[in-house]
Symmetry: C2
Subunit: 694 residues, 2 copies
């Protein structure tokens, strides 16, 4: 591939080019690589393995996007993903008579497979570099903002053309801070049915406590099936299971859709995250958690209402705390700084790269500006996008923006984007006014405390009332919790929103001007500089390293690699595998309390289980949120596991990859097959997995 060493081998001219190319900074099992630029050199160097194009195509076409990740595992459209990926569907499919969350579900026959309304999956059929086409749309003399808009329009045109000419959904993905654009063409399946899901107690053994930890003992798996024309979809590319699994040290691959990393961020940006963004974000999360826990303790109904939100908050708290630990890890930050110093030194030496040099300085300045204006960000934008008041703000904006010509509207309110706005505003999920009241009061009180009672924005927001009175009056009077009412307000391009006397709309109308002004200032001084600056930083990294670098995660399909490996922890070692023995040990050790009770089916069928069967395993592959449900694949392209988590040490990988302790956590194929056969009476499903067909 196009790596420094190969360039060098290509001839004297290439060797000359090497003078300005430094060795790849990627020294470990690092990287979420795109399928059009796989880590061939790294794989050869580290593992003596070179995947063929057919190997890569097969894995790509077996990989499934279903918001999170998944894979085809039989010719009959069978798809494997995580229990927690399908959980929302399973909740909606459950009834008082059939609690599939509590009891699990298995369709013994095809007829019993349960349609999952709203579910769709897609597969990346092809990838095309469209950087030149997108950039060609930028007119000479365009400002930064104009150029951005021209690129977006060009991308939209490419996507539309893709659908028209191929019937495939197109997505133009912005990579490397926007310095590369690639068209991903997707084949979609919109008829997806539930085949198997275990009970929550087995899928999420250990609950919140064990979330993001390892050793772990979870059967976090679900099977769904793609249908076409009312019949199971026939697919050419799917992963054959390797019932023998992987061994310690084996090379393995993860193919999935990592959501977001920020490894392109400069050192100054990370310092800003560490010193400004994370401390206030964590404070807010901790406060919300405290609030929700107190609310949940008021009674069983409140506990039920708080539960799902609390789950997401606990999950966020653990992830953000882990990232924050990384930002405060001197060794990690030193590593990041060293990488940056190396690139900047190379840039400084080469006059051809002079134009990149100022990016870091400009980003430094943007961070300083952001730091100086952080009170505004935290408090003046504090109510944006929050619960019911967030809906009120969106309605207000809807009315204001739709009164303008399309070209002049805020991003998000262009005609082509309106469907999403309307869908979000008319969704009929339950809204609990008492919970909204508690959280909004707290938010407003923290804004008053942050800006002080004499601040003009605070005065405008409170309109002469105390926070408690303001919110309780607003909650008593608002009808925004009714989807029908919100729908009504959207009518006639939302022109009635501004006239509404709904108290939450009135609050939104009072605060929106300041929110908008603050956001505009941050867009100008921070966001725009970041976008432009990171594009330059990415270009500089290309110039220095060639494309032996990979782009930050963007929620699109990536290939990661690594080895099955335990790790040192505290003063001992963590094993690469766990087994069913461990499930019982941890349950007994806690006296089978709460989330640590042995799942009922495991308890009932213990004698049938081979307890030594590997249940979970860890590997060094580079993953992040969004990789949930990714297949874990061996060198032969066979399924050996199912990714469902990262350990807590992997959170700092958002910013800097580190493999001493960071691990990707997966369900072992052997543990899955053992469970299907011995615990769930799902032998036929296990057979389909092993045979690759029903």
């Amino acid at each position: 591939m196009n790596s420094p060493r190969l360039r060098c081998a290509a001839g004297p001219l290439a060797a000359l080019a090497l003078l300005c190319l430094m060795p790849s900074p990627v020294k470990a099992d690092e990287g979420m690589w795109t399928y059009d630029h796989p880590p061939t050199k790294q794989l050869q160097e580290r593992f003596g393995f070179t995947p063929s194009q057919a190997w890569l195509d097969h894995l790509r076409l077996s990989s499934v996007n279903m918001y999170a990740s998944a894979s085809f595992v039989s010719a009959d459209g069978l798809i494997l993903t995580n229990h927690h990926v399908t959980l929302g569907y399973v909740q909606r499919l459950s009834t008082p008579e059939h609690n599939y969350v509590r009891d699990g579900f298995y369709a013994k026959t095809q007829a019993e497979e349960l349609p999952m309304p709203g579910a769709s999956i897609s597969v990346v059929e092809s990838i095309e570099d469209v950087t030149a086409r997108v950039n060609a749309a930028v007119k000479p003399g365009a400002t930064l903002a104009q150029a951005q808009e021209q690129r977006e329009k060009a991308a939209a045109a490419i996507q539309a053309e893709c659908l028209k000419s191929t019937g495939l959904k197109g997505e133009v993905v912005s990579l490397f801070g926007g310095s590369k654009r690639a068209l991903y063409r997707y084949k979609e399946y919109t008829d997806v049915r539930l085949v198997f899901t275990p009970e929550l107690a087995a899928a999420f053994f250990g609950g919140d406590d064990d979330n993001f930890t390892y050793p772990r003992y979870d059967l976090d798996m679900s099977f769904v099936r793609a249908y076409e024309n009312g019949k199971p979809a026939h697919v050419e590319n799917f992963l054959h299971a390797n019932p023998a699994g992987a061994a310690d040290g084996d090379l393995v691959f993860v193919s999935g859709n990592p959501g977001r990393t920020d490894r392109l961020m400069t050192y100054a940006m990370l310092e800003y995250q560490r010193d400004v963004v994370y401390p206030s974000m964590l404070q807010r999360l901790w406060a919300r958690r405290t609030l929700l826990k107190a609310y949940g303790q008021q009674g069983p109904e409140q506990a039920r209402r708080a539960r799902t939100v609390l789950y997401f908050i606990e999950n966020s708290v653990k992830a953000r705390e882990g990232e924050f630990r990384g930002l405060n890890d001197a060794a990690l930050m030193k590593k990041k700084l060293a990488q940056e110093v190396a690139v900047r030194a190379a840039v400084a030496k080469d006059p051809a790269m002079a134009s990149y040099g100022k990016a870091w300085t400009e980003l430094d300045e943007a961070m300083a500006w952001a730091k100086a204006h952080d009170k505004d960000r935290r408090f003046k934008m504090g109510l944006d996008d929050r619960g019911l008041v967030g809906k009120a703000l969106m309605l207000v904006r809807y009315g204001q923006e739709l009164a303008k010509p399309d070209a002049e509207r805020l991003s998000g309110f262009h005609e082509a984007e309106l469907a999403d706005v309307v869908r979000s505003l008319t969704a009929s999920g339950p809204i609990y006014k008492d919970l909204e009241q508690v959280t909004l009061t707290e938010e407003i009180k923290s804004i008053v405390a942050g800006l002080g009672p004499e601040d003009p924005y605070v005065k405008t927001m409170l309109d002469g009332m105390a926070p408690e009175a303001l919110v309780s009056k607003a909650m008593a009077g608002t009808r925004l919790d009714e989807a029908a009412f919100r729908k009504e307000l959207l009518k006639d391009k939302g022109k009635n929103v501004a006239k509404s006397r709904d108290p939450l709309i009135l609050l939104a109308l009072r605060i929106e001007p300041t929110i908008r002004q603050t956001r505009d200032l941050f867009r100008e001084h921070v966001d725009a500089v970041e976008t432009a600056g990171l594009t330059q930083v990415a270009k500089a990294e290309f110039a220095v390293y060639g494309d032996a670098v990979y782009p930050d995660a963007t929620g699109t399909l990536r290939l990661a690699f690594g080895k099955v490996a335990g790790y040192p922890f505290a003063t001992t070692l963590v094993p690469p595998f766990t087994t069913y023995y461990g499930l019982f040990d941890r349950a007994c050790g806690f006296g089978q309390k709460g989330d640590f009770a042995v799942p009922p089916r495991a308890a009932a069928n213990r004698a049938a289980l081979d307890l030594a069967t590997p249940l979970n395993l860890v590997c060094t592959a580079d993953i992040t949120g969004g990789n949930s449900g990714s297949p874990l694949v061996d060198k032969e392209g066979r399924l050996v596991g199912l990714v469902f988590d990262g350990n807590m040490e992997s959170h700092p990988n958002t910013f800097v990859y580190e493999e001493t302790q960071a691990r990707c956590v997966a369900v072992d194929i052997r543990g899955m097959l053992e469970a299907l056969r011995k615990l769930y009476g799902a032998g036929p499903l296990a057979d389909e997995l092993v045979k690759g067909a029903r």
Copy 2:
């Protein structure tokens, strides 16, 4: 008891006394209490339990001192302790035909019980406060050093008198920095025989890696038997096993011999430990480990020679690193400082306590002096007490001191103490010259590096040679590795030592004057101030808290209490119990490699085992090194476990007790009984444990 609250309840005068008494600083399951001042108030307040005097006497008389800790567990003199406590004896009892370390040992009949040469055990028959008697020996006008010597002589006289009048061995124990003295009277048993020990693989599963960690899965137990007149000793007091074990949250007790804590140390002393002592100590340990590992890699014989030393070094490294983490734990140090500030404030307020106040200032000054002279401590005393050169130094001192009248000799060389010196110098353990050469060369090189080649001490030490040449010549020429040669030198009060031409003796003669001078300076400026100062600090704490405080560990019998409890760790929870399931899980997770292989008997008899049987457990009781082998006892005084370790979070407890994560680790009685019956065919031994007699 004599606690503040009870004093208050005792009447108006006592209530007045309370004005200068503050609430007990002991707020948790803290304390290694002496049996004559048990934590009655704490037990009542925290657990609603008040042990009777009979309960206390029974536990004390069932507790056995065998250098570490142990307990009587049957009327027939059966004693339970740790495998690692008996390991040295078991090694010596092993032969090429019978490798009891590798295979374990079980005496099916009494006749098969194996005498353990050199082993003796003792039981505390009574405790008497002799503070007044010891202090009465101090003559008016005595200097600090003279007073110290007068007290030591008085203690020796009390001990001698004890033996004479009761036939019991007496030990005058110095408590609370010497401000209290207690006479412990011991009944001794000198005929001790090995009854049962499991194979090393079961006792030490997880090896060095799992040492000081939890969750843990070790059968670290051994049974020995005390004999009298060639027959099993009949004892009135022994612990009955409770085959049901303890439950999560249960109150439990530990009765054993904790070796040393430094909780009386002032904040300044801890800072000195943190900033000066520990960094250099750890450097030295790490360097020695590196050296020994390299030496061990030279061949199988070198590996064998290095193994035991390496085990102790790894053990020390983990413990010292853990303590160092504690010293660097801001929260822990803050807690210590707050305790000290409270005592000093109380002292400052009360004119009656004025005399104590200067202790802290004097200790501050002593620490400053020690810090300023740390190079001397590290490098000029660097060869003291080290291997063969340490023996050479001791021989030189022997010759010099024995030429003086007894009263003028260095401590350690008084007539009454000579037996120990001679025993140590004539012990015939193997000495490996090549290993000595490697370590001594490294020590000398680090001294040269630390003081610089022009330092007069360095020049005297090297005598014109390079370190390598000096050491290799000395090792080639010395005969000090021969016990007979050392014995020869001891003859005639060691008067020939000074004339010896042995190269290591010559080196010792060159360096001893500087070592002695440096040690004398440190004794004067640091040790003496510490001894006097800590006595004052202890007195101040008594004055402030009454005797609701406990003394630092001194290797003598103590009672600790706590509850069975898991703990939060990283982002999840650690369970209070582990089970046999976990042993198999951890073994399988590591692919049964090395110290993580399932112990052979467990592998062979797996089907017979009830895998859910608790194997190890943790509790909050306050323990430290020396507690190994202590019985874990429930409220009814029954045996529920066997203490064998502290987790790594417990190391900082050397300086400040903290119970969030610090735990005492024990083998569960249920795990022991299950193993004896199902793995070792030792049903009769299990029966003796349960019945309390053979």
